[in-house]
Amino acid sequence: MTAIWAIAVITFKEGIRNRAIYGISIFALLLLGANLLISSMIMQEVGKVAVDMALSTVSFAGLLLVLFVGINLMAKDLDKKTIYMVLSRPISRPQYILGKFFGMALLILATISILSIFAIISIFMVKLSYPGYFSRFSWPPILLAISFITISLILLSALTFLFASFSSTSFITLILTIVSYIIGQSIMDVKALVEAPQAVGIQVSPVTVKVVQAAYYIFPNLSIFDIKLQAAHGLPISLSYIFWAVSYGAVYTCLTIILASIIFRRREFP
């Protein structure tokens, strides 16, 4: 356990000191500042748009974090051979994967927390400017949406570990992660579309339907962690939904990390 924690600590430190974090933060702050501007163009539901902007910024910044800082943390080890300094200790490969994953999860948690503080300030400032236009506004769904974003990102970073465990370069890991993200976010909508294509007036072959349905089980359904719409309109989320969504995230993440450590066991570093 101490070994896993030690790896998590240095992974976290290495990540949080990465210059890219500054870039992502500045980008996020700019978007949150723009929130005031965009919200002012809306006639009625200013609150909804302010929340849309703020949550989308947090989500997108988190995505950039996982894709560039996260993959970099694994890639550095594999491409630049910094892994020798870790694997030469008395630790097993699974301990290594777990340690790095916890470090990454902590990094996501810390970064999203800071970003959300700014997001909340941004929403608050819009609320102060247009107090009358915030009907049906409520903070708890917003906080819940942020938590779900965090879970979604941790799940995605587990996938980056899986891909890194067998990919030869960090670029391949990046591409696979981006593809998984896109599929993960859209698979539910695509499934709905191919199961009822008459809405758009196109024909879909039965093979396509089967392929999509299979993909639905294999790829993570990231859209279940997207409750930004509900948060923006102050719509309630049932406790059972929260329970099942969190369980899905936990199970999928565990499966991914276990698979990653199995593959990684047999990897060689010539």
Binding site: I10, Y84, P90
Partner: protein, 247 residues
Amino acid sequence: MIKIEGISKEFKEGIGSRKVKALEHLTLEIHKGEVFGFLGPNGAGKSTAIKILINLISPDIGYASIMGKDVSAKDTRRHVGYLPENPYFYDYLTAEELLWFGGRASGLSPSVIKERTNELLNRVNLQAARKRQLRTYSKGMVQRAGIALALIHDPDVVILDEPMSGLDPIGRKMVGDIMMELKAQGKTVFFSSHILTDIERFCNRVGIIVGGKLRLVDRLDNLLSGTATLENIFLKEVEKAGGGIEI
């Protein structure tokens, strides 16, 4: 202390089926308390053999153990210190944090780590830079940090892959002195090099490897008893191996 028995390793080069024999039936034993020099030209298989000992690579056939424990078990490395060739560390960590990590991962308590960190950083002359991030270090400083990391847990066996590479004369002296100190402490040192003078200065025994095959193993004083120089012996072995360099 270190037992290598019949280890062979092949690598696939490129997309075709071109196979490279990195090691062929390597059998070698390093005794407790000795300084063993692993000498060979570039590409002879020295690093491959060392990486097998650290379980970074698995052999195709054969077996290796350190202090009686199989090298594929993680606990074996509790008493082994390793310095890779051209070490890379996490850029944004400080030397202090690096050694903290090495100590914790080896199961040391924080107070012991603190003590040994001070000791080692003094020994490798990095006290002044201990709180600076490793990315600001010169190559020599990085190498010295690597040595500190290899020794933080007071290992009984120290394995160094080209420890002098890229060091200036001051650095080389420091490394050499440390190796002698380790020997005086009764530790086993196994290092690889292609620099003859280093082998001559520090080793008890020497193994010459060319083209993946171990050609010669003997005590240094035996080898140099006559008029032969290490250079002659080495070049002769290289010639016998037929040029022996696979690039």
